[in-house]
Symmetry: C2
Subunit: 410 residues, 2 copies
């Protein structure tokens, strides 16, 4: 080919209206005219996905996941086709492709599928015809030809996976903010855009509440060395680069804490009266894993008489399934009781520099303690520290930590 | 297999709301529980298709047809998935399939594709799993994996083609009326439901304005001997059977005129000053056919000095393309001028018995003439007589003919 391959992804807000779709079309044509081969991945327009979920929920509280994927994948198909129409109207050449038409093969975990392989022949054939290639994000196909979706935010993953498959120089993720911030700018007014992040930092930020990039997309980028550029679809400013920062080492070492994030979409489950013998906790978490529930934080306490209590957190949307699994296990493994607490939030600080700076955790805990904010669960890794606190204190806590760690200053 | 295969098709109004989708689900489960293998073909919900067309029209007045098919095919995918969810919620087993997933292969005339073959293996595999199979109507796939649509009302064709492929005993077309009527009941209050029609009568009725069945579906049914039962989705009444009526001969011979129809979706193009030499008209209609425009009626008059005038009618939606073709041809073949008349309507009477009853045309023409309704074009075949008249007289004319031919009486 010889040409540079550019992969751009536009989220739901970036294609949320006809006007915005026209803007995306112009950006695509501009890049094409600069001599690139261009792939555009789009999400569904605005609230389309939520509207479809709402429609289904009026029929069933527990719709089959295969059928939900069939339903939801239409949102990206619509925005892809409309973008192709917009590009044609502006004199460009474009073709829209579904996940099936590209050949984005996934496993068969409906509503949360993982990409296995991406075929390249159709995309390259369209490049040969001088087409801008629009790929419906968020979706794939199983070997059995069933449509899958990649989970919320899955269009990011589509874009990164395509960039990896095509060996693109990098993958541009266009969104409605200027990049990744030191904290949510809606909460912390002096939050600052971060220029460069390592994959691991981005992973931790994404998994601890920063919504700007889908977790699995970052994992995919890390595993395949795809450089991501998160930027605004409304201007031409530089955004946040996510890459292997080993090469930028000296710069990186200064940032002890890169950002503060929070997540109010969590529920805490506490299970009491578990016999403290080997294999019981494994059984519990094994069954939850089999039901495809991701556990986030876990705390286990052995109480009196060898009876243990375990608390763990999950995403809100998994609560119904989780409750069912725990109820079924109650008698089987001898659980006395369990409690659900929906009034919690997770608070995290992330930074590659924490590895070599002891005392960060102590600063975090004492600063929360000083304000009477109770820490209910803690988890740490070399580059992240997370706490569970009461939900009604979360905004205050985010602002507090942003100030304590001087995140408004570069 | 051994089981009876039942194919049911539900139109847009029959799946226009969650409540109606639930009703369809119940009907499907009932038929399945009676021991049948069941295929359901659905249209898009209510106004979905029109809404999508409107969305595209806000981007482009001439969107690429391939992309329109990509866009519009989502409507049927949504209703199919929702119906599968509804059946599951009611305890049934169902799976929804797109045109691609079934393997409904078509030619590549986007927006008006013809079905070439239908694969049977996926449907039979789902029957084996005891699933009710829901097939998204109106869509197919080319050999190059591009999504096509079958034109307005194409879900009827999907249903009939599947019934033919699976050798179903008949194909049930559920709609919002009780069957095919002797005239539009909204206009003629004593219009009567017709019990049985031959394929040819149904073809003429469909092509002359009766909207209850898609023309191509009837052609397909005729060619493959599929018996169609057009009936209401809101009750269990017998509807109208469309079949090879040779076997019911004696009954049929009585109905001289079966129905009166009209079509206000037509435009008359008059082309003046055409050199009256061989090949000129062929050139004109050849180019129109190449642009995929269906010509309905044609009248040619040779005037003075060997200069001819030709008038023909087309569908309104083809007007823009037609105008373009005629303009381009103007100089090439020496046309002096052309006129577009959008204030016309087509009035038709259909009946298998007309073949053996001369005088029907005379009755029709004199009855219109008595009321001062001017006939501008005429076309006839053994079982249909059509006239073009002014649009503002059409309702009056339909009522007049319904009465003159005693269509309210069996």
């Amino acid at each position: 080919m010889g040409k540079n391959i550019v992969v751009m992804k536009f989220g739901g807000t970036s294609v949320g209206s006809i006007e915005k779709i026209n803007k995306v079309a112009e950006r695509a044509i501009k890049s094409k005219n600069e001599g690139n081969d261009v792939v555009i991945t789009v999400s569904a327009m605005g609230d389309t996905t939520d509207d479809l979920i709402e429609l289904a929920s009026r029929i069933s509280s527990n719709p089959p996941k295969r059928e939900m994927d069939m339903l939801l994948s239409t949102g990206e198909q619509v925005s892809s086709a409309l973008l192709a129409i917009a590009i044609a109207q502006k004199g460009g050449k474009a073709i829209s492709l579904t996940g099936y038409q590209v050949g984005i093969f996934t496993d068969d975990i409906f509503s949360d599928a993982k990409i296995l392989t991406i075929k390249k022949d159709r995309i390259f054939a369209e490049f040969e015809k001088d087409n801008i290639v629009i790929v419906a994000g968020f979706q794939g196909i199983t070997n059995n030809n069933d449509i899958t979706t990649l989970g919320r935010g899955g269009s990011d993953t589509t874009a990164v996976a395509i960039a990896a498959a095509l060996n693109a120089t990098h993958c541009e993720i266009f969104t409605d903010v200027d990049g990744v911030f030191t904290a949510d700018p809606n909460i912390v007014s002096n939050a600052r855009k971060i220029n460069v992040l390592s994959y691991d930092e981005m992973l931790e930020l994404a998994s601890s509440g920063a919504k700007v990039l889908h977790l699995r997309a970052v994992e995919f980028a890390k595993n395949h060395g795809v450089i991501i550029h998160v930027r605004s679809s409304f201007n031409n400013n530089e955004g946040t680069w996510v890459m292997d920062t080993e090469k930028l080492n000296e710069k990186m070492e200064q940032a002890v804490v890169s950002g503060v994030t929070y997540d109010t979409n969590q529920v805490k489950i506490s299970v009491f009266g578990i016999p403290d013998k080997p294999g019981v906790a494994a059984k519990l978490f094994g069954e939850l894993a089999a039901a495809n529930i991701n556990i986030d934080m876990i705390v286990q306490n052995v109480g009196e008489k060898g009876i243990a209590a375990i608390s763990f957190t999950i995403k809100k949307e998994d609560l119904q399934t989780c409750e069912k699994v725990v109820k079924e296990l109650k008698e089987k493994i001898g659980i006395k009781n369990f409690e659900i607490d929906t009034d919690i939030a997770k608070l995290s600080i992330v930074g590659a520099g924490m590895k070599s700076h002891p005392g960060v955790a102590a600063t975090m805990f004492s600063c929360l303690g000083d304000k009477g904010i109770n820490i209910e669960m803690i988890s740490t890794s070399p580059i992240i520290i997370s706490c569970v606190i009461r939900k009604d204190r979360i905004i205050e806590a985010v602002r507090l930590l942003h100030e304590v760690f001087n995140l408004d200053k570069n």
